[in-house]
């Protein structure tokens, strides 16, 4: 078997496992080819990293019972069966501990600001989220204004540097009777909140300057332009948030 053919078969190679004879043969064929071995090593590394994430996907404890009930219902002759499982996927464990307190750093550090308690409550909502609240989307954040308008949040907008961020889940959540737009962002596993500053008495300067926060291993950044506030959070440190914001170009 030549090297190029071997490399094709080796796409299915599983290290440390019993492989199919053709794949084992392919593995032997590249034994003395350092480039091919290096390619295979990189492939295996990627596979291991991805498999670790897949293995971490939790299955609901009651899945079997729920499946059983559904199967029984369907077998009993119901022509219209309905799955009643709660949605499993939650923007979850990560969010469960999302902190209520913002330690503001701005570039120079700000400990308090008017409306801080309201900002705390907005971040607290993550503790009550199960994940089913999100509507799936797949588009740049800048293109979400129609969706939010249709779902009760008027005037959605983000700073120009956020325009291209890929949104993967959206919802409008009411807080104190006021709407807050929330976006799950496929960058740095981030959550983005947009809300009207006047609804929550947020009194930071409306100059678009970012204030950077830190609490319980989470980093947050908040800014205000006009009456619109943007709050972004992810698990990490303030310096990571600062670096992240610097990487975004308007």
């Amino acid at each position: 078997m030549n090297i190029s053919t071997a490399l094709i078969y080796l796409q299915c190679y599983k290290a440390g496992e019993r492989n199919d004879p053709m794949i084992e043969k392919a593995y032997r064929a590249v034994t003395n080819d350092s480039r091919a071995r290096e390619e295979l090593r990189k492939q295996q590394e990627f596979d291991e990293r991805f498999k670790a994430v897949v293995r971490a996907i939790e299955t609901p404890e009651d899945l079997q019972e729920r499946l059983s009930a559904t199967v029984e219902k369907k077998r009993a002759g119901g022509t219209k069966w309905k799955v009643t499982f709660p949605a499993i996927l939650a923007i979850g464990s990560a969010l469960a501990s999302l902190a209520a307190v913002l330690t503001v750093m701005h570039m120079e550090s700000v400990a308090h600001f008017p409306g801080r308690e309201a900002a705390d409550r907005i971040m607290d909502t993550a503790n009550r989220m199960s994940g089913i609240e999100f509507e799936p989307v797949s588009q740049p954040t800048a293109q979400l204004s129609d969706w939010f308008y249709m779902h009760g949040f008027d005037g959605f907008g983000v700073p120009a540097e956020f325009n291209a961020l890929p949104a993967v889940g959206v919802q409008v959540m009411p807080l104190d009777g006021k709407p807050v737009a929330q976006v799950a962002v496929d960058r740095h596993d981030s959550l983005l909140y947009v809300f009207h500053a006047s609804d929550f008495g947020i009194g930071i300067p409306a100059d678009g300057e970012w204030l950077i926060f830190d609490h319980d291993g989470w980093a947050g950044g908040i800014e205000r332009r006009g009456n619109l506030c943007t709050l972004i959070t992810f698990r990490g440190k303030p310096r990571e948030m600062k670096a992240f914001l610097h990487t975004l170009s308007p």
Binding site: V54, L67, S68, A94
Partner: protein
């Protein structure tokens, strides 16, 4: 790793194999709700056929085939690239939790074109050998290897574009 479909009602926690099938459905659909619906539907359908299948591996393979059909059958409805992800049907009991990272990974994965998506999903799960995966997909083993390679490349590219660390070669 035994998974007895008939014992669904009596075994409270999900078996490792059931978990693998759930992950398989999640990777194909990108949606936990769609994954559960597909699982329930596939289970209900294969139950009647179980007696005709002699070995556990055959039953698993049959379930994988039916589950794949269920997962892919709903693909025409939503627009491409906009999989149903987190929308709950009826919020009932407590929702289990999946890490945001896994959620986002599933989004990248479910955008891979078929049959590479199924090939790679089965390859990453501990359910079948490559030759059995080739059987399930009615492919030759070399075609499966090509499909896995192409899908892996697509996944890496997608993760790379998203700036995810998993995409970085060591």
């Amino acid at each position: 790793m035994g998974f007895n479909l008939r014992a669904l009602q009596t075994a409270p926690p999900p078996s490792p194999t059931l978990s693998e099938f759930y992950r398989f459905a999640l990777l194909l659909t990108g949606s936990p709700v769609a994954a559960q619906k597909a699982l329930a539907s596939a289970f209900a359908d294969v139950q009647a056929s179980l007696d005709q299948l002699r070995s556990e591996e055959q039953r698993h393979a049959w379930l994988a085939i039916r589950l794949r059909e269920e997962c892919l059958s709903g693909e025409e409805a939503p627009a491409a690239g906009a999989p149903r992800l987190l929308r709950g049907d009826e919020a009932g009991g407590p929702a289990a939790v999946l890490d945001l990272e896994a959620y986002i990974m599933a989004q990248h994965f479910c955008r891979i074109a078929e049959p590479g998506r199924t090939a790679l999903a089965l390859f990453y799960l501990d359910l079948f050998s490559p030759s059995r995966i080739a059987d399930i997909l009615k492919m030759r083993i070399e075609d499966l290897a090509n499909a896995v390679g192409t899908a892996r490349q697509r996944l890496q590219q997608s993760l790379l574009e998203a700036g995810r660390p998993e995409s970085i070669a060591g």
